[in-house]
Amino acid sequence: MTRDDLVSRHAELLGKLEKPEIPAELSSRSFLDGIYERAARDMAEDLDSEVAESLSTRFEAPAELERQPVDPERFEPSPLRELESVEAPGLMWPRLRADLRSWTAARRRHRTQRRVASSLAAAALVFLAVWTFDGFREEDTVVDPEPRISIVRHRMTSPIAPGFSSGSIVREITGTAGTFAGTAGTFAGSAGVLAAPPSAPDFPANRVGGRRAR
């Protein structure tokens, strides 16, 4: 007898048995809830008080989760689909939420790590580019090590060093000597102010353009 034959024989025999009567209390909702509550109480005794308290707290399901449309076609066919839909007990939500939180936190950590790594890589690339670029090397960079100054001219009406100006020297010598008629040869004294400019040749204007004696 093959394995298949054996299975078929057992099914035949089981089909001939009388169907046992199911206790009515098993089909009640309170019975199933009592099982869940006892299981939760047993588990709470094994956990820390904090964790147990958080687990015992009832959370409302997020509204967006309830409103999200579900496309049945996206799911694989399963024998479970034939079963009667049973609402998930409220005690499951804290765990789901904790899982969601840990998953989100893990994803956030991962994203931060990637961002830091990317930033470090970019900074390294920029530093390498700056280091190897000739234009920023010290010997090629125009550096202004000394600040610029402004120079203010202060005009003087009298010579700073009268002894280094022939005009000032001659004026100092002439003093109040009066009129000097040197060109005429009839002067009183050896120096003085001329009544008229001395006779001199005109500057040859043909030598330089525009330089003509007035």
């Binding site: 009406t157 700073i160 280094f164 001659v170 050896s190 001329l194 040859p204 030598r207 330089r211």
Partner: protein, 347 residues
């Protein structure tokens, strides 16, 4: 026949004697006049002369006047072992002026005679530099004191100096007249003209007995600027200019000592061949009592200019820096501003 031969020989001898006694003119060809010939003429012969010196000046109120004086000048070739000619420049005397006033004039003139002779008019300071910075143009033949002369004009190549007209004595090459003109307007600015002239043996005979050759007082010349400041009491108080005016070369390095307060002054003389730029640096000089603008990065330069000269001065760190040059010489400005930046260590 013999008498004829004797006559011819006598004539030939007289002719040859006459040729031998005719001096070779210093300036044989007017087209070949050079700065070197002018420099030789001024420094390698004996001269005894009188001259008028005229200057066009403006006073503090802006009033423009021509002032003049009469001078006597003796020049002799350099003494043995020297390189520059000797000179004695005096204010003319015995002209009927009040004795006290005449004495004052003589004192002032004597004090400044070196500057008047060396920098007070046209003078070839360096023939080679002059040839590279100026051009000579022959303008024609004239007569000066009954002597043949060539009139030439001196034109700067760069346009940063004044122009000159010289009347050069053909026989000696000496400038019988020197007229200075503004390079832009062509206006006459200053003039020296010779009124009496003797040269050679006659001038030597006149000068030998009376000339009081100028010798520098309170001044010592050194071969280099570094040698000059090393000879100072406190060499570290001096700063040498890092740059020379463009087109100029260092001519002399001297250390002056003020007989009144003992202050030392470094004096450097630069020349472009004709014009001079003088630089004087005096540590310990009193700060000028003038209100000048100042700020954290602003520095003042005192600026005096007249028709023929420019004087720029600044004071920093207890040291006075003074630059002197021609009125149209832009190098005086550039040199002084560069020096200020160098001294304060900023640009």
């Amino acid at each position: 026949m013999r008498a004829d031969r004797l006559f011819i020989a006598a004539v030939a001898s007289l002719a040859s004697l006459a040729v031998a006694q005719t001096p070779t003119p210093h300036l044989a060809d007017p087209q070949a006049i050079s700065f070197d010939l002018i420099h030789q003429a001024e420094t390698q012969n004996w001269y005894s002369l009188s001259q008028f010196r005229f200057c066009r000046t403006t006073d503090a109120t802006g009033l423009e006047q021509w002032v003049g004086l009469a001078e006597e000048l003796d020049v002799a070739p350099p003494a043995s072992g020297e390189t520059t000619e000797r000179f004695d420049l005096r204010l003319a005397t015995g002209l009927g002026l009040d004795p006290v006033e005449e004495q004052r004039q003589q004192t002032v003139h004597t004090h400044h005679r070196a500057y008047l002779y060396q920098h007070g008019t046209f003078r070839v300071q360096d023939p080679q530099l002059a040839a590279s910075n100026y051009a000579i143009h022959y303008e024609g033949d004239i007569q000066r004191l009954g002597r043949p002369a060539y009139r030439v004009s001196i034109i700067p190549n760069s346009g940063s100096a004044n122009c000159w007209i010289l009347d050069l004595d053909v026989e000696t090459g000496y400038p019988m007249s020197r007229s200075e003109y503004d390079q832009n307007s062509g206006e006459l600015l200053s003039m020296i003209t010779v009124t009496e002239f003797a040269h050679g043996a006659a001038a030597q005979a006149a000068a030998d007995g009376v000339a009081n050759w100028w010798v520098p007082t309170h001044r010592t010349d050194y071969p280099t600027p570094t040698a000059a400041i090393n000879a100072a009491a406190r060499p570290s108080t001096f700063k040498l200019p890092s740059k020379t005016p463009d087109g100029f070369a260092l001519q002399t390095s001297s250390m002056l000592i003020d007989p009144l307060n003992g202050n030392e002054t470094l004096m450097l003389s630069y020349t472009d061949g004709i014009e001079s730029v003088l630089f004087l640096e005096t540590p310990g000089a009193p700060k000028p009592n003038v209100p000048v603008y100042s700020g954290p990065d602003a520095y003042a330069i005192l600026d005096f200019s007249d028709l023929t000269s420019k004087q720029l001065m600044f004071f920093y760190g207890g040291v006075q820096y003074l630059t002197l040059g021609g009125s149209d010489n832009a190098q005086v400005d550039t040199f002084t501003e560069n020096l200020l930046r160098q001294v304060v260590g900023k640009r």
